[in-house]
């Protein structure tokens, strides 16, 4: 659509916003490197990528929430460094975030104009504020009554409308919508899209971050694609088809090289169902689904953040109970199935759960490796309520060796271990309980490659012993590498379960982003 010649000659000054980042780190973690995003005046620019692709880092840099550690930001040809969000707003960059950032202590109108005033000095009179708020509410299909209601009676959609009006009603040149449409209802979203088209003609720009391929397709002029914290490419509207974007996001060139090591090992063994989920609804309003966890398999859970993957893992482990439906431990033939009542109950019957936030939910940082390791199975090494130190040491060392925990010292506090080694201690703790099902909620986030390999070995060994492994991962490559089946979550339900040949990166991404449903569900000429 765009003139190729003109595009290639665009100087940096011609962009409304141009951000170049060499590298951005959070502590020791490299979030993005060699990334850039360049937004023309009067365009809707898409920013797409999987989880962990660095989209949110880009948004935070543009909206002044984090300060760049390297790189440069130009707005209308002027080199800038934003110290805080109000700086970004002063230069015309307003952001609507996915979380509905509302202050319950203020009124609805006040929420719209938060941050416009000085510390003491009001920028506008009450009546002017009110009028302006109502004007934008009406453009979004609401009316003045929105501002008469107490905040605590408002739905998430209403609250998100307030944050949207907050960004629209103060001056802006670039509006960033960071997954902001997911909380809106469809009519409001459509009205927003119409308004955006009007703004485009005025020369204002929108950076649209979304994982909804349908929304991207109708709205954007160009898109920047990121993967694993790197820039993959910038595409024009004509090229920005869902298929093309997904293949860019996934980097499907190397995905076929993965060899599935595990499936061969267990062939011939008849799997039995260990946990069965029937008509399970994870959150009220989501679609019901069935799923079995079988012995000796590695069941992967994939899905974009907030799409129910973590809830599914927690539901299998009894950490949370489903809104409706049954999650049951399947007994040996002749026995009786038991529905899972709680995590404690699940653990008693052989389901171990390793939480995602190992520092907050799993480990006791000041306690030693040995103490952290034994805490869930303390009965096994105590006698008449007394702690048997020798037994503790012996039990700990079995897993210290098996998982090659470094340093080789059971007395050091867990807080001094690296992320990967801390994770090993946590997993060792649950393995010591000899579970028949182990649920791992994103166990390898932020773990180095070497440790990951050890984990893959460990997990496939466990499965070979007949243990069912359920593993949520945000890295699709990882799931492809080790799992037998992959349950893909979308909109708080299991959208598809892929196994065998169907387990390709392309298929997973399509299911994650709902590309297939789009074609099927879409009524003519609409994008509901």
């Amino acid at each position: 659509m765009k003139d190729e010649m003109r595009m290639s000659e665009t100087k940096r000054d011609d962009y409304l916003v141009s951000l170049l980042v060499e590298a951005h780190r959070y502590g020791n973690t490299l979030a993005i490197q060699q990334c850039s995003i360049e937004i023309l005046p009067g365009e809707v620019h898409g920013l797409v990528g999987e989880n962990g692709s660095g989209k949110s880092t880009i948004v935070k840099l543009l909206s002044g929430i984090i300060k760049p550690t390297s790189g440069s930001l130009m707005v209308s040809g002027e080199e800038l460094v934003f110290a805080n969000p109000s700086d970004a707003q002063r230069h015309g960059i307003n952001t609507v975030f996915q979380e509905t950032l509302i202050s319950d202590g203020n009124t609805a109108v006040e929420n719209v104009f938060l941050g416009v005033d000085g510390l003491f000095k009001r920028a506008k009179k009450d009546s002017v504020e009110r009028e302006k708020a109502i004007e934008f509410a009406e453009r979004l299909g609401y009316d003045a009554s929105l501002f008469r209601r107490p905040l605590h009676t408002m739905s998430v959609a209403d609250r998100q409308v307030l944050t949207l009006i907050r960004s629209l009603a103060r001056p802006w040149k670039l509006l960033i919508l960071d997954e902001a449409t997911s909380a809106l209802d469809i009519q409001t979203r459509d009205r927003l899209f119409d308004i955006i088209k009007e703004y485009k003609h005025e020369g204002r720009s929108v950076l649209f971050v979304s994982h909804r391929m349908d929304e991207l397709e109708i709205l954007i002029d160009r898109a920047t694609v990121q993967r694993s914290g790197r820039l993959i490419g910038v595409v024009d509207k004509a090229e920005a088809t869902p298929e093309r974007l997904i293949s860019m996001m996934s980097g499907d060139l190397h995905s076929s090289n993965y060899v599935h090591q595990h499936a061969q090992q267990t062939e011939g063994v008849v799997p039995e169902t260990k946990v069965s989920l029937r008509d399970v609804v994870l959150v009220p309003g989501a679609a019901a689904f069935d799923l079995d966890v079988r012995s000796g398999e590695i069941l992967g859970i994939a899905g974009l953040e907030g799409q129910g993957g973590s809830s599914l893992a927690e539901t299998i482990a009894g950490v949370r109970l489903p809104a409706s439906g049954q999650v049951a431990l399947v007994a040996a033939p002749g026995g009786e199935d038991r529905s899972i009542r709680s995590q404690r109950h699940a653990f008693k019957h052989g389901i171990a759960y390793v939480p995602a936030k190992r520092q907050e939910e799993g480990l006791f940082a000041p306690l030693s490796v040995a103490q952290n390791f034994i805490i869930s199975t303390i009965e096994s090494i105590s006698m008449l309520g007394f702690f048997r130190k020798k037994k503790l040491e012996a039990a700990t060392w079995v897993y210290m060796d098996k998982l090659s925990v470094r340093p080789r010292d059971t007395a050091v506090p867990v807080s001094q271990l690296s992320g990967g080694n801390a994770q090993k201690v946590l997993i060792g703790r649950w393995l010591n309980a000899k579970p028949s099902v182990i649920v791992l909620n994103d166990p390898l986030r932020g773990v180095d490659v070497g440790t990951k390999r050890q984990f893959y070995r460990l997990i496939t060994d466990l499965a070979a012993e007949g243990v069912s492994v359920v593993m949520l991962s945000t890295e699709i490559e990882e799931l492809l590498l080790i799992s037998d089946r992959i349950a893909v979550c979308r909109q708080s339900s299991v959208a598809r379960v892929l196994e065998g040949e169907a387990r390709t990166q392309q298929e997973i991404l399509s299911a994650m982003f709902g590309v297939l449903e789009m074609a099927a569900d879409q009524p003519e000429g609409d994008f509901a």
Partner: protein, 335 residues
């Protein structure tokens, strides 16, 4: 596009009748408790209103009332905001006024008041810098200043001293039957009212309710919290002056006991410890409530440990009642 033609009617909210819990102010439970306590006091001492003892009660309660009011901005600023240093800071200021300035011959009331407020503001700036700029958790930062002020006061004033109270006559008397001390408290409440009518009021509520929302919306969160501690410092300065007036002297050890009572009073008055909700009216009522309890129990000859137990029980009751009130207020909640 067909979707845009959808009627807005579907979007019209259910018209909600405001329940009593939504229209009545946050300090209502405390006010009711205060009335009950006043009635109990009058039954026990029928001369309470006639013999002028209520004016005396108000006089003696005033330092606690003002310190409870001083807690309001910091509690409202959220992020664990509270000021433990108010008691010793008021004690130190009283020691400076009663033990240092007045013996030096400075007896002009406006000058003394300015000195007290000045030291109060210095205290506020110090606490505010620690909390807002250096990000020291408020409980630690103000515990540190609590200890420092307590020590400094003792260093300054080894033993209690009396002062010439003749210059404070106005504070002890009444105008048209209203004790002048009540006027002082009303003026402070009005000053607060003026402050929260500026943009600062909404900024404070936003920072206290949801500091992430406030920050991303462009509010200077650091500045708002810094100012909250300075405002608390102002109140502390006034309270220091009132201590000298009420006690007719200065005592370095008297301040510490006020800190926890002041926080308890603010909570009694419906100020949320989580930030965002509250005001000085509630805190003032809470302060008076605590003093009335103390007054009643002392009058009935109850030993001091009963007093302690009573404070604890009342505080728990206050938290339960205010929590319940908040629940009822938002019942039916978010959909």
């Amino acid at each position: 596009m067909s979707a845009t033609s959808v009627e807005t009617a579907s979007k019209k909210p259910r018209v909600q009748r405001d329940s009593i819990f939504q229209t009545v102010p946050y300090w209502a439970p405390a006010a009711v408790a205060m009335l009950v306590l006043i009635i109990i006091t009058v039954i026990q001492d029928p001369g309470f209103f006639i013999a002028g003892s209520w004016q005396l009660v108000l006089l003696y309660a005033s330092p606690l009332i003002v310190l409870a009011m001083a807690q309001v901005p910091v509690l409202m600023s959220g992020g664990g905001g509270l000021d433990l240093s108010v008691g010793p800071a008021a004690g130190l200021i009283a020691a400076i006024i009663g033990g240092l300035m007045m013996p030096l011959g400075i007896t002009a009331l406006p000058v003394l008041l300015l000195i007290a407020i000045g030291f109060g503001l210095i205290n506020g700036v110090l606490n505010g810098m620690l909390v807002a700029f250096l990000r020291v958790p408020p409980i630690i930062a103000t515990l540190a200043t609590y200890l420092i002020y307590g020590g400094l006061a003792l260093q300054l004033l080894r033993s209690p001293v009396g002062v010439n109270t003749s210059i404070f006559g106005w504070f002890y008397s009444t105008s048209l039957g209203i004790p002048n001390m009540l006027l002082v408290i009303v003026v402070l409440a009005l000053l607060w009212g003026l402050l929260v009518r500026t943009a600062y009021g909404r900024n404070l509520k936003a920072v206290g309710s949801n500091d992430r929302a406030a920050y991303t919306a462009g509010i200077n969160v650091t500045g708002v919290r810094f100012v909250a501690y300075i405002v608390a410092g102002f109140g502390t300065g006034i309270a220091g002056m009132l201590l000298v007036i009420v006690l007719g002297g200065a005592d370095a050890t008297v301040g510490e006991a006020y800190t926890l009572k002041a926080i308890a009073a603010a909570v009694l008055g419906g100020v949320s410890l989580l930030g965002g909700r509250g005001g000085v009216v509630g805190a003032a009522i809470g302060g008076l409530l605590i003093f009335l309890i103390q007054n009643y129990l002392t009058a009935t000859g109850a030993p001091s440990y009963v007093l302690q137990i009573a404070f604890g029980v009342v505080l728990i009751a206050a938290i339960v009642v205010n929590g319940g009130w908040e629940f009822l207020r938002t019942k039916g909640g978010r959909r």
